[in-house]
Amino acid sequence: MSFWEKIGSFDRRYIFALIALTVIVPLLLPIGMPITTTNEVKGVYDYIDALPPGSAILVALDYDPAALAELYPMSIAILKHAYTKKIKVIGMTLWMTGASLGDVVMREAAQGIAEVDKDYTYLGFVPSSAAAIMRMGQDISSVFNVDYSGKPISQIPLMKGIKNYKDISLIVDLAAGSTPEAWIVYAGTPHRVPIAIGVTAVSAVGYYPFLNAKQIIGLIGGMKGAAEYEKMIQSRGTASAGMDSQSMTHIAIILLIIIANVSYFVVRRKNKKVIES
């Protein structure tokens, strides 16, 4: 049996071991591969960076722990950027299983740079995403009359003067599911409020048509997008730390795909020759 034939009956656990090595080794011994910035991520950064201090943005943390690896660094980077620019942040979630996680993320990003109720507030979870988004266009307090901790939003200093989307400069949806589409359909288009989205890499490709149609001002896709944002705010986080592993694993997967395809064609050619003879 030739080398190319053996490839077909290869024990897949060797591949698992190879992928584990390409992930773990660069984590332990960072290579420092360059992180290039893309226009879609820069669009979000530039928009937030250009907002005047005192502006308010709505950040929807629509994910649960399953998407933490990709969306946590993204959330921290965007929130830190907003806090350092003295932009008011209103946090919320449309994901029931992400309600408490959203609270943790908001507090972690604010450590040392922002104060609760003054610089940021977390309103918690609201069910029925489409109806909630539509009603918030009329009056946010009709959907959230208390924040996540139970404090009436009329008593939160940050919420003074913020009634609906007219008072919001940007909606950022960091999502593991299809909520960005709901934000675009029920808030972005009818209320003309700018929308930026950050999604897991697996769903990023589905949002490029919205970027092309200028229905969103930017798109942050997966860990790579988060690493780009971390680079732009000059704050190395977990996404940047993982990019060497990501690049090395991609190289390994590309090589494995090439080897597997060469093996397939070599074996097919050999079998064809056997049948002909």
């Binding site: 773990i24 984590l27 332990l28 933490l68 990709e70 979870f125 589409e181 359909v185 029920y186 490709v205």
Partner: protein, 200 residues
């Protein structure tokens, strides 16, 4: 202390799940069953608190707002399907949901997902990107047009459509690989940073 215990439990369970990569084993099955049980329990508890307690009980108990009972009763009618004699009552909440959802989503969906997308496609050919988008759109639509045999010009356009579809699938697959590897990196980072403190 509770954080350290939590990290050790999470690390142990991560290793239990990863052990499946070698072969199926009791540690993996333990972690799998625990995950399913905890997920369901957490979801039930959150649903109860976030909807029943916060949206029904609090308004009645704290504000004396009994109007919330109207949607609550309509919602409860969903369970009428479990009682054969009153099964027909499920039509009311379904009719309400379908009516409201369709009324709210159709005009907005048309506006955002059809008209806006068409507007973005029907642009003057002032760049190569616009030409590629229009070509890809037309050829892909022709591929999905089944009332004419795919021969001649239609066949060529259909094949070009397949090419665009393949590029799209390739991009989606590439992003999927990146997403899955990101999850693995997330777990590895947790093990080596939060648990073992090897990665700074």
């Amino acid at each position: 202390m509770s954080e350290i215990i939590g990290i050790w439990i999470a690390a142990g369970l991560t290793l239990c799940v990863f052990s499946f990569l070698y072969k199926d084993n009791p540690f993996y099955r333990f972690a799998e069953h625990l995950y399913v049980g905890v997920s369901v329990g957490y979801t039930i508890a959150q649903t109860w608190y976030q909807t029943i307690v916060k949206l029904v009980w609090y308004p009645i108990n704290q504000k004396g707002d009994f109007t919330v009972l109207i949607p609550t009763v309509i919602g409860l009618l969903m369970f009428s399907r479990f009682v054969p004699k009153y099964r027909w009552l499920i039509r009311w909440p379904l009719a309400f949901m379908i009516g409201v959802s369709a009324g709210a989503s159709i005009p907005r969906g048309m506006q955002s997902l059809i008209f806006k997308q068409m507007e973005a496609t029907l642009q003057p050919f002032n760049s190569i990107n616009v030409f590629i988008i229009v070509l890809g759109l037309l050829c892909t639509l022709i591929y999905f047009y089944f009332s004419t045999e795919h021969k001649g010009a239609v066949g060529v356009a259909s094949k070009v459509g397949i090419f665009f579809l393949m590029v799209s699938f390739g991009a989606a697959f590439g992003y999927t690989v990146m997403a899955r590897i990101s999850l693995l990196i997330g777990r590895a980072y947790f093990l080596f940073h939060d648990w073992l403190h090897i990665v700074k």
